[in-house]
């Protein structure tokens, strides 16, 4: 028992540095932003007006907390948030990316993995090709897409002879820009999913397929009735993590459109996302973090809800 206790202390000591760092940079900020989102008119740091009011003896109408001041506790931030058309746009954009590109990516990755698994020649070659996006920087990939879809010298317009069709340059419509983002996020997301699915497929006992063959099972039925159910734990894992990832989409939008923009020149918030919106709040005069925090809280709640729904649904469909 004494031994165990001593070991416990040793363990705690070894864990302390990382625990401390996580508390400072992960746990506290989470709690902090949650609190902030419920503080009305929260302003970080004092400003000149504040000093002036104190000097002139004007009665304080606010309370100090966490290095800033606020006027009360309530849901004012959330009201502001949902009245901001930028945020509503961000919600819409994020929802589109999550609910269209993620299922599409998962399905395409699954089909490619099954295809790859059934070929022998060049398997390693194709695996490498599909895995390349995973080891490539998001911004770099975005730049590639930026040039691919460029209105004047982009390969896509040249290839399909679409002269002057603007995808991501000024004059681009929401639909076209979103299309590019879809293609981008599907392609970017394939790599990791294919690798996970392939390893899952290789763990499925070959005898199930032999048994299916002897029973004259059509290919499509083998896929839907045997492969997919046996792979369902992997599919669930991939779907949940991809949903979480897609809700946090940000850098790919920046990558496609260029620094500080979420859309083409002239319509710079066309494809703004929730994380993009939250980040934008830092640029607002006087650092009113309240609305940004409220945005984060909303995002957190959405992800939590979707994940809970997925877990619930999976109980029926996933076979371990």
């Amino acid at each position: 028992m004494l031994e165990y206790k001593k070991d416990g202390w040793k363990a705690a000591l070894c864990l302390a540095p990382s625990l401390l760092l996580m508390c400072v940079f992960t746990f506290w900020p989470i709690i902090n932003s949650f609190i902030m989102s419920f503080l009305n008119n929260y302003h970080f740091a004092l400003n000149r007006e504040d000093v002036y009011n104190t000097f002139m003896g004007v009665e304080k109408s606010y309370t100090y907390i966490m290095g800033g001041r606020f006027t009360g506790i309530g849901i004012q931030n959330f009201i502001t948030l949902f009245r901001d058309k930028d945020f509503l746009m961000a919600l819409k954009n994020t929802a589109f990316i999550v609910f269209i590109s993620v299922p599409a990516t998962v399905i395409i990755a699954l089909l490619i993995a099954v295809g790859l698994n059934s070929i022998k020649a060049f398997r390693g070659f194709f695996q490498t090709i599909f895995f390349l996006p995973y080891v490539t920087n998001t911004i770099a990939l975005g730049l590639v897409f930026n040039s691919l879809f460029h209105v004047d010298y982009g390969l896509v317009n040249k290839l399909f002879n679409l002269v002057g069709t603007s995808w991501i340059n000024s004059g681009a419509t929401w639909g076209r820009a979103m299309f590019v983002l879809f293609i981008y996020s599907i392609w970017d997301g394939l790599a990791f999913k294919i690798i996970v699915f392939l390893s899952g497929l290789q763990n499925i006992d070959k005898q199930y397929y032999q048994a299916a063959q002897i029973d004259a099972t059509p290919r499509w039925r083998v896929f839907t009735r045997i492969t997919v159910p046996l792979l369902s734990p992997m599919i669930l894992y991939i779907t949940i993590t991809s949903f979480m990832g897609a809700f946090k989409v940000y850098s790919s939008v920046i990558g496609i459109f260029g620094t500080g923009r979420y859309g083409p020149v002239g319509n710079e918030k066309l494809l703004i996302t929730i994380v993009g919106y939250v980040y934008e709040q830092f640029g607002v005069q006087g650092m009113p973090f309240g609305v940004g925090s409220a945005g984060s809280t909303v995002l957190f709640l959405i992800i939590l809800l979707i994940t809970l729904v997925q877990m619930q649904v999976s109980k029926k469909w996933v076979h371990y």
């Binding site: 199930y208 004259a216 009735r225």
Partner: protein, 375 residues
């Protein structure tokens, strides 16, 4: 399709729906070679000729790596033979894919789909055949009743014991009324008690359905106990095919003699001198051989030995084991340094160190090099 089935229908008995059309299975010069990455060729099945009679239960028996499973997979069509033909009845099925051969295969680990219930597993082959739902359900239930799992239909495979899973696998293999049922090591995943029970089950199911059944095993007891005939294989070659007792009593070579029998057969060297079989101590134990003088191996099953006052073997007892009904003595024969086993009745007490005389009712003589049997 239906018509074809009618034509090959041979089983005389009538009435039962579980009745299967049975055909004989003929393997002609069947050879399967595997080439590994380095180009090395392994002959798994070597010029295999055998006719498996319709409606019989046949055991393919041999040590691991002898090619028996390969033979089964060749019959199933999951492997393509390097050369040779396979016939079901008069039909050459060599180039027919497995799903069109009309076979049912029970895998060693059963390969039940883990995410489907027992019912769904049994229905699966029928759904592929696009059989109407209620007809399929009735057939599945009938098969389940046949293998005595009718009350487990809603369970998942992981909620079943090994023996029950085995039955589900058999039901799934039988439900589409195959012409031939193939079982790969059907009992190897079961514990000793279940094994005994299941092998009787397999025998019963085979009798009731009358389907030509081929099963693979490395366990001689398993093969001998339920097979109508056994085929003994070694290193890809057929050694012998006959009724189990006949193979046991009259092995064609030393391999078969050694492979069958528990406790194993006693093998020792002796010499053929002018047509007489002479032990190392000079004792003549048999004569009438027309082979030239040479060293040979003598095979003696433990139960062929008996204690007799004027026996030709002089033996010193090394160990006495009481094995219930009988007594097994391990003894050293004069002139030899290895031990032989003899099973003798329980009526006499034997002591370690005691010298006895043994006589034998029957013996096998094998060529020392080829293992071919002389007598």
């Amino acid at each position: 399709m239906e018509k074809e089935k009618e034509e090959v229908f041979e089983t005389p008995s009538e009435g039962s729906k579980t009745e299967h059309q049975s055909v004989d299975v003929r393997l002609e010069n069947l050879t399967k070679e595997f080439t590994d990455k380095t180009g090395k060729v392994t002959v798994a099945v070597n010029d295999f000729n055998v006719t498996i009679p319709a409606g019989k239960l046949i055991g393919l028996l041999g040590p691991s790596g002898c090619g028996k499973s390969t033979t089964l997979y060749l019959i199933a069509g999951l492997l393509k033979p390097t050369s040779g033909r396979i016939y079901f009845g008069d039909e050459d099925v060599t180039d027919i894919p497995p799903e069109k051969r009309g076979i049912g295969l029970v895998f060693q680990n059963y390969a039940l789909y883990p995410h489907m219930t027992v019912k769904q597993n049994i229905l699966f082959p029928l759904e592929n055949m696009k059989m109407p739902k209620d007809e399929a359900l009735a057939l599945a239930q009938e098969m389940a009743e046949l293998v005595h799992i009718g009350d487990l239909m809603e369970r998942k495979p992981n909620q079943l014991s090994g023996g029950q899973q085995q039955r589900v696998a058999i039901a799934r293999a039988l439900v589409k009324k195959p012409r031939v049922l193939l079982l790969d090591e059907p009992l190897s995943n079961l514990d000793a008690r279940l094994r005994l029970q299941t092998r009787e089950e397999i025998r019963r199911i085979q009798r009731e359905t009358g389907i030509t059944t081929i099963f693979v095993t490395h366990d001689q007891e398993e093969a001998m106990s339920i097979s109508d005939e056994i085929v003994v294989m070694n290193q890809g070659l057929k050694q012998q095919m006959d009724r189990p007792q006949a193979v046991y009593e009259e092995p064609v070579n030393m391999f078969v003699a050694k492979f069958l029998g528990n406790p194993p057969i006693n093998i020792f060297e002796a010499n053929l001198v002018k047509g007489r079989l002479v032990l190392k101590d000079g004792e003549v134990i048999a004569d009438g051989f027309d082979q030239p003088d040479q060293e040979v191996f003598v095979g003696l099953r433990p139960e062929y030995l008996r204690v007799s006052r004027n026996g030709k073997f002089t033996a010193t007892i090394d160990l006495v084991e009481h094995i219930g009904r009988d007594t097994m003595i391990l003894c050293e024969i004069k002139g030899y340094d290895h031990l032989i086993r003899a099973i003798v009745p329980n009526d006499t007490e034997y002591e370690v160190g005691q010298t006895i005389k043994l006589d034998c009712s029957k013996l096998f003589v094998f060529n020392a090099e080829t293992g071919e049997r002389y007598k």
